[in-house]
Symmetry: C2
Subunit: 340 residues, 2 copies
Amino acid sequence: MSQRRITIYDLARAMGISASYVSRALNEHPSINPEVVAAVKKKAKELNFKLNSHAANLRQGSSKTLGVIVPHINQSFFSEIIAGIEEICFEHNHSLIICQTHESFQRECLAVDTLVRQNVDCIILSVAAETTTTEHLESIAQHNIPLIQIDRYLDQLNSCKVLNDNKKAAYDVMQSLFGQGYERIAFLGGPTHLTTFKQRRDGFLQAWEDSAFSNRTPLLFDDVFDLSVVTKVIDQLLQNENRPDAIFTVSDHQSVAVLQKAESLGIRVPQDLGIFGFANETFTAIMNPSLSSVDQKSKELGIRAARVYFDDIRKNNGIPKINEVILETELMTRQSSIRR
Amino acid sequence: MSQRRITIYDLARAMGISASYVSRALNEHPSINPEVVAAVKKKAKELNFKLNSHAANLRQGSSKTLGVIVPHINQSFFSEIIAGIEEICFEHNHSLIICQTHESFQRECLAVDTLVRQNVDCIILSVAAETTTTEHLESIAQHNIPLIQIDRYLDQLNSCKVLNDNKKAAYDVMQSLFGQGYERIAFLGGPTHLTTFKQRRDGFLQAWEDSAFSNRTPLLFDDVFDLSVVTKVIDQLLQNENRPDAIFTVSDHQSVAVLQKAESLGIRVPQDLGIFGFANETFTAIMNPSLSSVDQKSKELGIRAARVYFDDIRKNNGIPKINEVILETELMTRQSSIRR
DNA sequence: TTGTAAGCGTTATCAT
DNA sequence: ATGATAACGCTTACAA
């Protein structure tokens, strides 16, 4: 039952050769006769030998593993990103360790800790909503682990970034809403210490200024991200006499809350209220009415982030040539914002 | 820039003590003066020291890490399971490595390989739909790594299991549908080599036999799980003259497909067609009509699975006392199956 | 209480 | 082409 793990020494003994030779054979070192390679691999399979990664990593100082930290893994936006990263890791024979922060700063620190201890070759991070400081992230660099920020990011942190053009996307959404004849458009934003959300806010404001309604005060609500907060704000907003005729949110879950509140108040969507979200979560397409949303090309975001590591950072000895990758977004205009 | 990683030797030198003493201090060994512990930890923070897990694991033969393998991480059923496992791992100061198979057998083998190489202390697995053989899973035991199957499982494999009472749940769903006056109830099943799906099928058949319609042939479709397959079957089923008046599926994604097809054909749900799914995915509650589904208590499944490892397997030196944990389910009867 | 030294399973260097 | 040996960073007997 409790037999020891099979090591290369066991293999070596079983085959009458040395451990170092076995190691080289398993790694297909060029100096080794292909027949020997085959024989060793066959024996390894026979004895159910599995390489001990810890030993190999310790020796090599590299773990052939990337780490990814996201707020939630059960949002299709992030799980698509992860799928993209996985795809590229797979191509390069690397593993992936996934951590989720649940938007908590403390969990983010913990995740960073875990990944550094695991000696991952690179960390891909989408910042938690709670995070305002960068100390825990700066420490990553001291371990010579490259950091790539993806989607959500902190501007003050010096790292590669893979992003959307959030300002443009938000601007485009506003054009779409104006085009549908909506005039009193409210904006439900996220935490503005994250540049990503600040940019969406900028896009909203820019579009407002460029519009025929620029003399009116824009209906802007910052940091309405948490479900409990967003519910309260929507309550007030929709029960108000001068309620908005459209609501643009920086996430799809905010949009769902808006839709549900509207339904409970008998406000018709999209006739009386237009709704536009962000991230193109899977459920937006199957809801009824279906929810308009910004497709951020999440899987491609993941692919590009991983490629920044493999094709740029790694090839240039840790010093990236590319600093920012900007991906186009696509407006998925659905029932919730089409009334013409 | 490219400084070496800080080790306990660096700490030791900086403090004028030995490395082993540092190690013990960091691990809060009882023999160590609390002041020394504090001082060492302070210095460690100051120098941004992070323990090299690979080295520690290699030495200790344990990684303080669990591994979990699931078909998809972006289904709330599985992500809730993971959240549950995470919670318990966190309590016990363990990390978690998450792998997804995308229902592919090959990917599952790869994930097992990765986790064994990473020397995880335990593997929690929900089998991929494609998997019919157990060889790759039996090899896990040879490495003295305990395996816990969760939700989806292969009966022929000797391992701990954390499950729902699937037969009962399916039986209950049928009672609910009969209670709503549905009579021609079709069953869209999954791959029956996975016992989980076989049990749901059994529950359906049992309920059928116990019903007033037992003389009629049950409308049973096995292995209608893949989206492309399910779409075809639904197409035929709903365009048929004698189409069913209710459809019970073993997953929520099948139910969504049914709902969408029904809508496109102008079949009213729930009046003309009742729909009942399985897993209680997040989106089922926000759809319109909302989808009835079986709540499998997914987070609790995860919690219990992790506890089987920490509270049972680990405490009994790898030999579990508990072999099966069965969790009750709850019927979430929503708009899609209520017509009375 | 503190230090010395061996060893975990690999791989890389240096021989042969 | 093949083998001996040291080293990766840590923990743990054992010694002092």
